[in-house]
């Protein structure tokens, strides 16, 4: 799998946004994410097809704001791929009409849910109602006391796909987005278990995105409540292919960018990106990860690498790459 990041444009300003840096760069006109051309998009679809990938996963920003979004969806369908659109649900009418016209088995729209108090929540619900089973609801957890109770009800009442995807807001390495601090993971784990207790009777399955770790749940509880083994303990980023053809492991790890090259196959990109991350994999989310039996047994990678990297200390508090280093004076007379 790979994500095609087709635009950095977005109509929300979420504080946890992983792609904020890309958006700023695009706004300044010097970033690689200013918007994918149809030509580039077609080349990347070729890359997906060569790689045996059956889905074109469109991400942003808000991908439906791409000026040629409907043409891109048509291109995906012409290529025989399923379109998977990661959206905030606040999309232009033309994009919504396009998506609702596609047969439900050929498109999926993963909509990041807005909390009930959000000023655009009603607009989002109107979109979800029209998308119906084409839409899968997701929710990003960026604080220790998330309000999750509304999610199951929204899925049921709007007739959405009976799966809820939960994500943790991870820190962007070298960035300044809001994120869920790892010390709060166990508190969030309890809330998720409560949510599962609510979702199961309603026929809604909970799936966890990357970065969830077994130790955020009471021992044994996650399996008992139906969380899949694959949902926990992994940090296996799905590469994001950017408008200039370059690739990053994910937006929180955008520092590890590979040069533009849309030859080859997706698994080769993934292998190269994994290799770039390998030197840092010894670092776990917590200091205690070094002695964790789950990690030693390969059942946990130590959590989100971007979150683990926040443990790193720097020579100074200046931003990454601008540090002059910390100076100290050694008296040579004392060394003799």
């Amino acid at each position: 799998m790979a994500n095609l990041s087709i635009t950095a444009d977005c109509n929300l300003r979420c504080r946890y946004c992983f792609a904020r840096g890309s958006r700023r760069a695009a706004a300044a006109g010097d970033g690689p994410d200013a918007g994918m051309t149809v030509h580039r998009f077609r080349r990347l679809l070729d890359l997906l097809q060569r790689s045996g990938v059956t889905e074109a996963r469109l991400v942003g920003g808000e991908p439906t704001l791409h000026p040629q979004f409907t043409a891109l969806i048509d291109t995906v369908r012409d290529a025989g791929l399923k379109a998977v659109v990661f959206s905030n649900g606040l999309m232009p009418e033309s994009a919504l009409r396009c998506l609702t016209a596609v047969p439900a088995d050929q498109v999926a729209v993963l909509v990041n849910a807005l909390s009930p108090g959000h000023p655009r929540a009603r607009d989002q619900q109107a979109t979800l109602r029209r998308l119906g089973a084409r839409a899968t609801l997701g929710f990003n957890i960026d604080n220790a006391t998330p309000v999750l109770g509304f999610l199951v009800e929204r899925i049921v009442t709007l007739g959405l796909s009976p799966t809820l995807r939960l994500g943790l807001a991870h820190p962007v390495f070298g960035g300044a987005n809001r994120y869920l601090h790892p010390r709060d993971y166990p508190t969030v784990g309890e809330r998720i278990l409560d949510l599962i207790g609510q979702a199961t009777p309603a026929g809604v399955q909970i799936r966890c995105d990357c970065g969830f770790v077994p130790c955020m749940f009471p021992p044994g509880s996650a399996a008992l409540l139906g969380l899949a083994r694959d949902d926990l303990g992994h940090c296996g980023p799905i590469p994001d292919l950017l408008p200039d053809g370059s690739a990053i492991p994910c937006f929180p790890l955008a520092r590890f960018r590979l040069a533009a090259d849309d030859a080859g196959e997706v698994h080769a990109w993934r292998t190269r990106l994994r290799a770039a991350l390998t030197p840092y994999r010894s670092l776990g989310l917590y200091r205690r990860c070094a002695a964790c039996p789950e990690r030693a047994a390969g059942r946990c990678s130590g959590g989100c690498l971007a979150a683990a990297l926040r443990r790193l200390q720097a020579p100074s508090v200046l931003p990454l790459g601008d540090s002059p280093g910390f100076a100290t004076v050694i008296d040579p007379e004392n060394l003799r």
Binding site: L312, L320, G325, A327, T328, I330, N334, L335
Partner: protein
């Protein structure tokens, strides 16, 4: 005689682990593991300890007498300079 100035390499980052430190060079992606007492010396350096306090603290941590402490300090700093973990003022990089 002017005191040489040492500074931590600007692309170096480190994390405290149960048995010492792990260092990462973000420019080259190289990693190092420092066990104690070298990990303690790195920590003291990063806190800006001056030479006399550095030597005194390292001696206490490592349980060494003065001459042995100075030798350890000199050898370690030389090694770290050669590895590019710390930079001597005026050197490239």
């Amino acid at each position: 005689m002017a005191e040489p100035l040492y500074r931590l390499a600007p692309d170096l980052r480190w994390a405290v682990e149960p048995t010492g430190l792990i260092l990462f060079d973000l420019r080259t992606d190289r990693t190092w593991r420092l066990d104690y007492p070298h990990a303690a010396l790195w920590d003291l350096l990063s806190r800006g300890y001056r030479s006399d306090r550095l030597e005194r603290s390292l001696g206490a941590i490592a349980g060494l007498e003065v001459r042995a402490t100075r030798r350890l300090l000199r050898e370690t700093l030389d090694t770290w300079c050669a590895e590019g973990l710390i930079l001597k003022e005026g050197s490239d990089g």
